[in-house]
Point group: C2
Chain length 187, copies 2
């Protein structure tokens, strides 16, 4: 069971009092497998941290589902476009397993960012790392075909790969599940 305060200490150490204030302003929620953590069309009003479980963010287009990312234990995330702009989200988040999350509300977080320079810096670091991950994703999508992206995803996500269905993984890779099944068969 990942702990949010511990995560923070590893991620970006804050002064004791500041960390306490941050943690004090979180709440915890549990979602059953298959439940929406965020529905598309809603404004994403929280940062999330996964204590336990697995989730995906995704969107639909022409009846097809496309997966932006999987989120597992000890990971902090949000739907950043909706969160930052406080506009309705094009993406939804669903729990793929029974999942417990720690939440910080946008308004509180903005308030804390203004109040504590350290939390602002924490947040900058968080978004910076998100950016770096997205750069890698874009590079991978440009340079590699589906088979190579699959192999890479497997090697980089050994820990969660068994927990993700073939269909979900295919939609993350941007191919049909039939194609992914074919790719797997060719090994």
């Amino acid at each position: 069971m990942a702990d949010f305060a511990q995560f923070c200490n590893r991620f970006f150490p804050l002064e004791k009092g500041v960390l306490d204030e941050l943690v004090k302003n979180t709440q915890t929620k549990t979602f059953k497998k298959g439940e929406y953590i965020l529905k598309d069309g809603q404004v994403c009003r929280h940062l999330f941290f996964i204590n336990h479980g697995l989730a995906k963010s995704f969107f639909m287009k022409d009846g097809k589902e496309f997966i932006m990312r999987f989120f597992a234990e000890d990971f902090m995330f949000s739907v950043f476009d909706s969160y930052v702009q406080q506009t309705p989200s094009n993406y939804a988040i669903i729990a793929l397993e029974d999942t417990t999350v720690t939440l910080i509300s946008h308004d509180k977080m903005e308030e804390l960012c203004k109040k504590h320079h350290g939390i602002e810096a924490f947040f900058r670091r968080l978004v910076s790392l998100v950016t770096i991950r997205m750069m890698k994703r874009i590079s991978g999508m440009l340079e590699e075909n589906a088979a190579a992206r699959y192999t890479q995803f497997v090697t980089e996500n050994k820990d969660i790969i068994q927990r993700i269905s073939l269909g979900d993984l295919a939609q993350y890779l941007g191919i049909t599940q039939q194609s992914l099944s074919r790719i797997r068969a060719q090994k």
Copy 2:
């Protein structure tokens, strides 16, 4: 000719003295068409702002070029993975036209972020918007085929589209220039 201070004021207003301090710590450089603004393998030690001109960031793989982004006037950017981690860059930046940039060094910027909460917040906003753009790019690459991505790029970049070669645009879209030529022909 875009002005950096004006850009800042529009982007994220800082206190007068703070903005002055930021601007005072910039320098200006000019690159001829075709010159490297950053070579891959180098650590990206600056944030960039384009006063005038056009540039692309890209990487090579198996002799093929893949373009991450184009940067035109009045735009602030960096190679964020290399910049944030201060590690050698996998990406290079080349001027596509004679280009003038305003630079802020990483070390100075970090110093200013520590010193002025406002600059930290400025930077958070900058990285947040980068993240949002990258989310859009990833969505687009997942959901749309090359023809649709081309159409969308054109409509969203009317201003610079005539300045980008077909080959470069193809490599941004993740297809060959022959394919893009074919797509264009079908309109």
